[in-house]
Structure formats: structure tokens, C-alpha cells
């Protein structure tokens, strides 16, 4: 029995095509993906490749921006935003931060940054999930995703010298109005969604859903919109297929990235990359250090004095004292447990179901719905989270009040601050 031919010799032409095809697949899944030729040029740090890669990284790192919105950011703003986002995520290479803000250079470094992002997690899949075409009326059930992703870069405002407090009050008031307007808009949206859902009862072919969503209703009313929706779905399909393609071929890409890394000049050994702390001047640091040390000394003395006084007041009480001490220990233990629980639950979501947006489906009262979350459960979870946040808010307010009292120099007691006219 002859040895079975294990595999067909790899045709050199195929081997040459494998890399560009892998890169093309990757590019198609990412928003604003450049051509494989751009990637090749970037490896050799050719300047014409840089702008396209800056744009790609900007879109990848701020996925919540719509297609049109990213155009409103200038190239410099995009570069700064990319640098900030990478720094926030802990990107280690200093060379990227040192690239010029006009986006004219840095193709190779940007390639490395992209590879770093790809290696950290399922980036194309995540982007596709976030930007997928939604047919239903979606509603977020928890804030985890919103809290995890950094928002779009805000314009930096230089606070030079004094700020007129009236301007601050103006801004606070504006924020409050915007919040109220947002609440009102959300209530309006809910009311209108409710109307659409009840009017289209029985229209959906999928019995478990029962009624149409806004997108589906629009589909029926406006054929042109339907055509556009179809086009979007087809584009999404193409991207999904490209993502599958990418996963099949990515090994070739990683091997190539090794050569890109090899092509970089050796980076001098750097200590851990620290965020830039704006210093008013080197001279200001000395007195700060001194003041810090002085405060530490003061604190130590105060603690010693307190402890001595306490021990003196408490020492030698006998059996009453040990009972009191056990009660104290229990109380402290309970406080600690509550604090621990608050810390754990404050951050994470208490829902058992998967996070992310869910489709809204309206059912008749008493009818058992399909899989997924029930509104009362979500409301319950949100209510308990609200209660927890209220407790935290009250604690913070109490701390503020004490701080104010300290600043005023008075012993802690009620501080009467008249609300400004409200």
C-alpha cells in the first residue's frame, strides 16, 4: 500500500494569494477597511498608508458613531481620539503616542495597534454585533455596555484662570433641562411604541411575536424603505461571510504580522507607560511633597491621640465591656458585609439573562410569553439598583455636607443652603 498523499503540494500562486485574501476578508468585516495594498504599504511605513489606517482605527475604537458622524471629526481630532482610546485600553507601545497629530505618518505602528486590538478579543464579531441591522424595537435592559465603552471624545476646555460661577450655574441648569427633556422624549417614545404594537396586533407572521415593530411597519408602508432595508441586510450578510472567511484564514495574517514587528526598529526599553499628568511646573512638585508628608504626620498623631483616649476611656471595664465589644464587632462586621455587597453589586448587573439590547414584544395579560426577560423582572432589578444608588447618593451628600462644615470651620451640624430659587 503506497503512502497516501497527505496533502496536495501548496501551489505557490495560492500561497501568494492567501495573505491578500485574508487581509481583504478582515477589511470587509471592519468599518472603513482599507485595501490589502494599503496594509502592505503600511508594513514598509509608507506615508500614503497612514491616513487610511488612522481612519480605520478611529472607526474601530468609536463604534457607536454613525457613518456620517465620524466625518465631523477633523483628522487631528481623530488621531487624538485614537491615541486616547488606545492609552485607555493599556496599549504599551510608546512610539504610537509620539506619532504626529496630523496623521501623516505611522503606518507600521498603526498596523501593530490594529493587530494588538485583534488579538485581545473577537473584535470583528463585536463590531458586527454592535452595528447589526435591527428589525425589532430594541431596548437596553442594563447599563453595562454603555458604561463599559468610552464615549466619543469631548472637546477639551481649557480652564484658564477664573471661571464665572454664573456660567457654571447656567451649564448645570442646561444639563438638568436636557435630562428632563430626555425623560419626556423617552416617555413619548414608549407611548407611541405602545400604540403601534397594539394597532398591529395579529399582523406578524411569527406568532410568538404577534405584532409588528416600527421597522416592520415602515416596511409595509413604504416600499422604497423596504428596498433600502434589503440592501442593508445584504451588505450585512456580505460582512458576516467575510468574517467567517477571516476566521478561516487568519493564521496567514498573524505570520505576516510577525514580520511587521520584526521590521520595526528596536524600541528602547521603556518603563511602564504612564499617563501624562499636566504639571503646572516642576517647582510646584516640591511643596506638594512636603505638604503631603506634613499631612501624613498630622494624621499619624491624630490617630495615636484618638486611640490613646479611647483605650483610656474604655480600659478596665470588665464583663460589661466585653459584651459591648462583641456587639460592636458584630455591627462592624455587618457594615463591612453590606459595603462589600454594595461594591460587588454596584458595578455588575444583577440580571441572570444576557446583557445587551432586547426586542420589545407586547403580550396580552395572562398569556405566557416566549423566552426572554419579563418586564416585571427587569423593573424589579432596576428598582433595587435605584435603591442602592439612592443610598450611595445620600452617603455622598452627607460627606459633602461634612466637608463643607469643615471648610466653614463649624462643628458638623445642619448646613443650611437655600436652593437657588427652586
Amino acid at each position: 500500500m503506497g503512502r497516501r498523499r497527505r496533502r496536495r503540494r501548496v501551489d505557490p500562486a495560492d500561497a501568494a494569494r492567501a495573505l491578500p485574501e485574508a487581509i481583504a476578508a478582515l477589511s470587509q468585516t471592519l468599518p472603513a477597511g482599507p485595501s490589502p495594498e494599503t496594509f502592505r504599504r503600511a508594513k514598509f511605513d509608507r506615508p500614503e498608508a497612514a491616513p487610511a489606517l488612522w481612519r480605520l482605527l478611529f472607526r474601530v475604537l468609536s463604534p457607536q458613531l454613525a457613518d456620517g458622524a465620524s466625518a465631523s471629526f477633523s483628522p487631528e481630532a481623530q488621531v487624538r481620539s485614537v491615541k486616547l482610546a488606545l492609552r485607555t485600553q493599556g496599549y504599551p507601545r510608546r512610539a504610537l503616542a509620539q506619532l504626529p497629530d496630523d496623521g501623516s505618518q505611522g503606518g507600521r505602528e498603526l498596523l501593530l495597534a490594529l493587530a494588538w486590538l485583534l488579538a485581545r478579543g473577537p473584535l470583528p464579531e463585536r463590531l458586527l454585533t454592535q452595528n447589526r441591522v435591527q428589525l425589532g424595537d430594541e431596548m437596553p435592559v442594563c447599563e453595562c455596555e454603555a458604561l463599559a465603552s468610552p464615549g466619543p471624545p469631548a472637546p477639551s476646555v481649557e480652564a484658564d484662570g477664573c471661571v464665572d460661577i454664573r456660567h457654571l450655574q447656567w451649564l448645570m441648569g442646561k444639563l438638568r433641562f436636557r435630562w428632563r427633556n430626555l425623560m419626556a422624549s423617552q416617555q413619548e417614545q414608549c407611548a407611541l411604541l405602545g400604540k403601534i404594537h397594539s394597532y398591529t396586533r395579529g399582523c406578524h407572521s411569527d406568532r410568538s411575536l404577534g405584532h409588528l415593530s416600527v421597522t416592520e411597519t415602515e416596511l409595509l408602508r413604504d416600499p422604497e424603505g423596504g428596498r433600502q432595508l434589503l440592501q442593508r441586510l445584504e451588505r450585512e450578510n456580505a460582512r458576516l461571510q467575510a468574517a467567517l472567511e477571516w476566521r478561516r484564514r487568519e493564521l496567514v495574517f498573524w505570520r505576516w504580522m510577525d514580520t511587521v514587528l520584526g521590521a520595526c526598529p528596536p524600541e528602547a526599553s521603556q518603563p511602564t507607560f504612564l499617563p501624562r499628568i499636566p504639571t503646572p511646573g516642576t517647582g510646584a512638585l516640591e511643596p506638594l511633597v512636603r505638604e503631603l508628608q506634613a499631612l501624613q504626620g498630622e494624621l499619624r498623631e491624630a490617630v495615636e491621640a484618638r486611640r490613646a483616649a479611647w483605650e483610656a476611656g474604655v480600659g478596665g471595664r470588665g464583663p460589661e465591656w466585653s459584651a459591648a465589644r462583641t456587639a460592636l464587632r458584630e455591627a462592624v462586621g455587618q457594615d463591612l458585609a453590606a459595603l462589600r455587597q454594595a461594591c460587588e453589586q454596584g458595578g455588575s448587573c444583577s440580571l441572570a439573562q444576557p446583557h445587551g439590547p432586547h426586542r420589545l414584544v407586547r403580550t396580552e395579560a395572562g398569556v405566557a410569553g416566549g423566552p426572554g426577560l419579563r418586564a416585571p423582572e427587569v423593573i424589579e432589578a432596576l428598582r433595587s439598583q435605584e435603591a442602592r444608588l439612592e443610598v450611595v447618593l445620600r452617603q455622598l451628600q452627607g460627606q459633602c455636607r461634612q466637608e463643607l462644615a469643615r471648610l466653614v470651620g463649624a462643628p458638623p451640624g445642619p448646613v443650611w443652603i437655600l436652593p437657588p430659587g427652586r
Binding site: 464665572d164 454664573r166 456660567h167 450655574q169 447656567w170 451649564l171 448645570m172 441648569g173 442646561k174 438638568r176 433641562f177 436636557r178 428632563r180 427633556n181 425623560m183 419626556a184 422624549s185 416617555q187 413619548e188 407611548a191 407611541l192 400604540k195 437657588p420 430659587g421 427652586r422
Partner: protein, 455 residues
């Protein structure tokens, strides 16, 4: 989103009727100067905001009518019903048989609590008819008895019960030579209470509107109806639908919220004035054409020189050159002074509205030092003409417009208070001297804050 209007007292009810009538007439006006589709969208937006639907198709105003005597309410109801075009809800009114003798304290401390439940129930019913509530208009006079005292009480209740909803009080500023002896007391009590519980106070001055009727509309025998109609025209030109943004052709869903966010976020500065241009009798309309440049030039000078109408504007008043102190610094003795603004909203309606050039309103010299024009100035537009005016512009301004009138009223009230004249009428019903003092303090603070805008 819908706005619920609470009409209080004789003043509030008469004006309220004219407002709804003006809104309805405008939205059904055939000369909209825009496409049919656009006109339908405009109508639908206006209708949803101010009227609710009934089975037989006659729109019902989203309003609650309150008065302590039945005469004016009955007149208002029947006027609306007879027009056949729109009407008030059958059960939307509350009235009693007795008046309140122009006694603020009686309105606030007696009528208010006594009828609180009934009035708030009526409002609640009206609110439930709305798909979503934008906020409340409360139309009331400042100086009378029922409207002012009860109005202050109702606004406070709205604050408690609907704390997230927006409230704008449409306040009728009395004639300087008014007939009610205690009108200044009523005025300061009303203003100070409203300042605490309302979001915005949009002031309509009787004197100013009277002049408009006389000079611009050429009305010989000016009746309250004429005044109310001019007022309604001004309000309509502000709150009829406008596009939601630059380049958008969808109508704004939350005009009250957008207005308040842009004009009154600061709790010390809540007093708004409104001007509009052009204003003329219907007969003259057909013979007049305007350019946006001309209209805006006049409107800007009206703002700067605190003119009430487009005739008799003082063109000498100029914005101060940067670095120099404000011309005729805000001393209330001087005749002419430059009106410093905190924030302005300009609303343009009509033909070629997108070509209107608004750069002159973004001049930093017009505004106080702590707010830049990009934050202080906003503009709303729509192509759809308003009330047969081919082009019209309105200005809602948070500026020093009302400092002088306010200071005058506070001064007169203080003089009376110093001699304790007529105080017993108030203390009899629970308004103590301390309440007066609180009101004086608050209003002095408001006057001082507005005066300091020039610095």
C-alpha cells in the same frame, strides 16, 4: 408632545381663548406658502400639541378654565362653541359663584386650598388625554385677585405634582396706571412665588401691547379683545411648529423644552420678553413686502434699545465697544441704555427663510460676558408662513427688558409697605409681613442680578 393650558381668572380665560383661536386659524390658513404635504405636517403638529381629538371631529382645546365667577368662563365657552371650528371640553372648567375682590391673599390662602382637589383633578384628566405631556402653560394676570393669587397657588401645586414637567407662566403685566390700588402688592407676591415654582415667566406688558394696537394696527377704540388678539399673535408666532434643526424638515417635538434649555437654565434669570415683527392690521398686509435683512435689522435694534415695537425705535443706542464700559451703565435713572442679553431665541417663519442672515445677532457685544454667542443665541425656522404674513420674525429674549418695570413696581410696593397701607387685607388671610419681606428680598436679588449683566 402636548401642552396643557391652565387659564386663570378673567384675564387668563379671555386671552386663552384668543390664543387657541389664533393657533387654530393659523394652522388652517390656506396661504401657508408651502407644499400641501408640508402644510398637513404643520397642521398635525399644531393639532397634537394644543388640541385633542373628538369623535365628531371638532378639535377640543387642551385647556382647563378656572375662575371664581362664572360670567367670563361662560362667555369664553360659548364663543368657542359658536365658532364651530374648535371648542373647549364640556367638563374642563371650574368656577364658583363669588369673586375674590382683587385680594391676592384670598386667592392664594382661601380659594386655593379650598378648591385644590377639584382643580388638580381637572388638570389630571386633561393630562391623561395626552399621549405624552410636554408641559403646562399657565395664563394669568399678575395684579388682579383671582388670577394672581390662585395662579401662584396652582403653579406651586403643579410643581409638586408634576415636578418633571415643564411650566411656563404667561404673565400679564398690568398697566402702569392701573385701577387696582393694591396691584403692586399683588404683583410682587405673584412674581416672587412664581419665581420659586415655575421654570419660565413669559411677560406680556399691557402698556406695550396697547401701543402696538394704537400705532401699528391703527385701532381707534382699543378694546381688551384687540389687546388679547395681539398677544395671541405673539404667542402663536413663538409656539407654532418649527423645524427641529438646521437642514431638517421634521417639526420640533419639544419646543417648550428646547426654549427653556436655551433661555432659562439659570435659576436667577427666568424673566422672558417677546417681540415680533412685522405687526400690522390685516388691511395693510396685502400692500407690504419685507426682506429678511430689513426685518432682522429692526428686530435687533428693538432688542438692543428695548423698544416694544418696530416704530419709534431709538437707533442711537449701540452695543458697547469691547473694553469700554457699557454705554449709560445700567443706572435706572438714565433714559437710554443698552439692553444686555443673556440669551436670545429668534423664530423665523415664511418665504426664503433659509436665506436669512443672522450674523448680527451673534455679536458678542450683545451678550453678557459670561456666555458666548454660540451658547446664548439660537434660531428656529420654518418655511410655512404664519397667519398670512409672508415673512415674520419673533424674538424671545432673556435680557434686561423687564428690569425697569420690575424696579418701578417694587419701588411703589415698598413705599406702600413702608406705611403699612392695606396690609391688613393680606394678614387677614394668612399672608404675613414676613412673606412681603421675603418677596421684596427675592425680587431685589433678581433686579440686582439682571443689572449686573453689563459687567
Amino acid at each position: 408632545m402636548s401642552i396643557v393650558t391652565v387659564q386663570l381668572g378673567q384675564c387668563g380665560n379671555q386671552i386663552g381663548f384668543e390664543v387657541f383661536d389664533a393657533l387654530f386659524s393659523d394652522s388652517h390658513c390656506p396661504q401657508g406658502l408651502c407644499s400641501k404635504r408640508e402644510n398637513e405636517a404643520y397642521q398635525a403638529s399644531c393639532k397634537e400639541r394644543f388640541f385633542s381629538e373628538e369623535e365628531n371631529g371638532v378639535p377640543i382645546a387642551r385647556a382647563v378654565l378656572v375662575d371664581m365667577e362664572p360670567k367670563v368662563i361662560n362667555q369664553t365657552l360659548s364663543k368657542a362653541a359658536h365658532s364651530g371650528r374648535w371648542k373647549y371640553g364640556q367638563h374642563s372648567c371650574f368656577c364658583q359663584k363669588q369673586g375674590s375682590g382683587n385680594n391676592w391673599a384670598y386667592g392664594y390662602s382661601v380659594h386655593g386650598p379650598r378648591h385644590e382637589e377639584s382643580i388638580m383633578n381637572l388638570i389630571q384628566k386633561e393630562v391623561e388625554k395626552c399621549d405624552s405631556l410636554n408641559g403646562f402653560f399657565i395664563i394669568m394676570s399678575m395684579a388682579g385677585g383671582t388670577g394672581s393669587g390662585l395662579g401662584a397657588f396652582v403653579t406651586q401645586n403643579l410643581q409638586d405634582q408634576y415636578s418633571n414637567s415643564l411650566k411656563m407662566n404667561q404673565i400679564i403685566w398690568p398697566y402702569g396706571t392701573g385701577e387696582v390700588i393694591v396691584q403692586n402688592y399683588n404683583s410682587i407676591l405673584t412674581l416672587s412665588h412664581l419665581y420659586r415654582s415655575s421654570d419660565a415667566l413669559l411677560v406680556h406688558e399691557n402698556d406695550a401691547v396697547h401701543k402696538i394696537c394704537a400705532k401699528l394696527m391703527n385701532i381707534k377704540q382699543i378694546s381688551f379683545r384687540d389687546i388679547n388678539q395681539v398677544l395671541a399673535h405673539q404667542l402663536g408666532s413663538v409656539f407654532q411648529p418649527t423645524y427641529s434643526g438646521e437642514g431638517s424638515f421634521h417639526y420640533r417635538r419639544n419646543p417648550l423644552g428646547d426654549l427653556m434649555e436655551n433661555l432659562v437654565p439659570h435659576p436667577e434669570f427666568k424673566m422672558l420678553g417677546v417681540r415680533n415683527i412685522p405687526q400690522m392690521s390685516e388691511n395693510s398686509l396685502a400692500y407690504s413686502t419685507f426682506t429678511w435683512a430689513g426685518l432682522l435689522k429692526h428686530l435687533r435694534q428693538m432688542l438692543i434699545s428695548n423698544a416694544k415695537m418696530e416704530e419709534g425705535i431709538d437707533w442711537q443706542v449701540r452695543p458697547p465697544l469691547s473694553g469700554l464700559p457699557t454705554r449709560g451703565k445700567m443706572s435706572l435713572n438714565k433714559e437710554f441704555h443698552f439692553n444686555t442679553s443673556i440669551a436670545n431665541l429668534v423664530i423665523l417663519r415664511g418665504k426664503d427663510v433659509h436665506s436669512a442672515e443672522l450674523g448680527a445677532f451673534k455679536d458678542p457685544a450683545l451678550y453678557t460676558s459670561w456666555l458666548e454667542p454660540v451658547h446664548a443665541f439660537s434660531v428656529w425656522k420654518t418655511q410655512r408662513a404664519f397667519s398670512k404674513y409672508e415673512k415674520s420674525a419673533a424674538l424671545v429674549s432673556n435680557s434686561q427688558f423687564l428690569v425697569k418695570p420690575l424696579d418701578t413696581i417694587v419701588g411703589k410696593a415698598w413705599n406702600m409697605f413702608a406705611s403699612k397701607a392695606y396690609i391688613h387685607q393680606y394678614t387677614k388671610f394668612g399672608i404675613e409681613e414676613e412673606d412681603f419681606l421675603d418677596s421684596f428680598t427675592l425680587l431685589e436679588q433678581v433686579i440686582a442680578s439682571y443689572c449686573n449683566l453689563g459687567f
